[in-house]
């Protein structure tokens, strides 16, 4: 069995050589500059390193429309979230201009502008999020975007991460890592929370059927009340140190914004993990959801529309602890009534920590809980 190929056929690299990077840095002041947020800078690095293969830059209008209408690129390759660069206005730019993108005062990439076009916020929100309700965090973000979009190819200066460098891997790294480990089938687990027993059970159930598991927490802007990135990482390190085998598990982060786009984002997440070399992707209840905007299993059902996705979704029902079975179970495996079940509720776990308590061991491993509790402020404020 061959390693899973990158989405669209081959792994993209838009990373400049050391010589070209130095030249661009030296000459950056001669080009018009667009200052981008750290979140967009993460997307730029992801495009450069092939996380978003086959994209080579920010989408043009026809590509955006195809993704919105058909959930496919113009090449017919599955793609569900438009990857766009917004600016407040583009009076200073023209098609064919070369501009420098910079963040924190440093150049990160050159963009060859292929197209300048308008953002239709209503269409974007409705088709990506299924709503125009500004209470939806993704819609709110779209409303805050500049009204003009720039499409074009990127040439990216490799930027070593300032935080979490020791757990930052890109697709070339993971593909070589998986090959060296002799893994042919790899399941990816996407997360934005510290692991409770339900997560661990899902991960280990999936791992039973493949060579290795790639635990890949999403690092990036979060909502107030969410666990901080360093807390999630420390919690996973604690779990994996004691309860996973080193030879068949890998922990690495992915810097990428959460869109809270539910089903469309589940496809997006699986495409990124395919590019890392994974063959399987775990999709649980309400994947990438927020509030009650999506049906709890919409993010699973959408996979039936993509026979050509190239990564196999592993669809899991919710797990719970059954006091009668005296084990973790789900609706398919447990015959007992709901009154015998203890749910793994994320909000319940958060409440324990907010009250200065450690969640019971029926919800979370003691080692994990203690690491979280040791953080002076585990939550985003």
């Amino acid at each position: 069995m061959k390693m899973n190929q990158a989405h669209g056929g081959s792994l993209v690299s838009r990373i400049l050589s050391e010589t070209a990077s130095n030249k661009l840095k030296e000459q950056a002041s001669e080009y018009p500059t667009i200052t981008i947020s750290s979140s967009i800078a993460d997307i730029v690095q992801n495009i450069g390193h092939g996380v978003l293969s086959p994209l080579t830059g920010f989408m043009t209008e026809a590509e955006v429309n195809n993704v919105l209408d058909d959930m496919r690129l113009l090449s017919d390759t599955p793609w569900t979230i438009p990857i766009v660069l917004d600016v407040k206005e583009a009076n200073d730019f023209s098609v064919d201009d070369e501009v420098v993108l910079s963040t924190d005062g440093a150049p990160v990439a050159a963009l060859s502008i292929e197209e300048i076009f308008k953002l239709d916020q209503r269409q974007f929100s409705q088709q990506v999020f299924g709503t125009q309700d500004s209470k939806h965090p993704g819609v709110a973000r779209v409303h805050a975007m500049g009204k003009t979009l720039l499409g074009g190819k990127l040439s990216v200066i490799p930027s070593p991460p300032k935080k979490f460098a020791e757990v930052t891997l890109y697709p070339l790294d993971t593909r070589i890592l998986f090959k060296t480990k002799g893994w042919r089938t790899i399941v990816a687990f996407q997360t934005r929370n510290p692991p409770h027993l339900g997560h661990e059970y899902v991960e280990k159930t999936a791992l039973t059927f493949v060579d290795g598991i790639f635990i890949n927490p999403l690092i990036g802007p979060k909502k107030p009340g969410d666990f901080r990135d360093e807390v999630i990482l420390d919690a996973y390190r604690a779990l994996m140190k004691t309860y996973f085998l080193r030879e068949n598990s890998v922990l690495s982060i992915l810097r990428s914004p959460m869109y809270y786009a539910g089903p469309r984002e589940a496809i997006h997440h699986s495409i990124m993990r395919k590019n890392f070399g994974c063959t399987h992707f775990i999709v649980g209840r309400d994947h990438a959801g927020v509030g009650k905007f999506y049906h709890p299993f919409a993010a699973q059902e959408i996979f039936t529309q993509f026979p050509d996705l190239g990564i196999t979704p592993l669809l899991f029902k919710s797990f719970f602890y059954c006091t009668k079975c005296r084990s973790i179970a789900n609706d398919k495996t447990c015959p007992h009534p709901k009154s015998d079940h203890i749910n793994f509720s994320g909000s319940e776990i958060r409440r324990h920590f907010k009250d200065g308590l450690i969640p019971p061991e029926s919800l979370m491993r003691r080692e994990v809980a203690e690491v979280i509790a040791s953080h002076p402020e585990p939550f985003v404020t």
Binding site: M3, Q5, E61, L68, D69, R175, V250, D308
Partner: protein, 78 residues
């Protein structure tokens, strides 16, 4: 984003008997038309073929050596 071009479709001829068989088969499924079904099946077949035809290794030996050194330094490899 407002002046979007119409999606381009084209016509493929299949034997009428096959069309009828498919039409019958997709009753009470998620497929809304024979075209939907045929598109689904063709995409599935193409994806399989593409995966079979991909080359085993998409990176150079130099890349592999450099990346392995980094992975060892980070503790991912012994």
């Amino acid at each position: 984003m407002s002046s979007k071009p119409k999606r381009k479709f084209t016509t493929v001829s299949i034997p009428k008997t096959l069309f009828e068989k498919i039409k019958d088969r997709i009753k009470n499924t998620g497929f809304s038309s024979v075209s939907d079904y045929v598109t689904y099946v063709l995409r599935e077949i193409f994806a399989e073929k593409q995966q079979q035809q991909s080359s085993e290794q998409a990176f150079s030996h130099e890349d592999e050596k450099r990346v392995k050194e980094r992975l060892r330094a980070l503790g991912y490899l012994d």
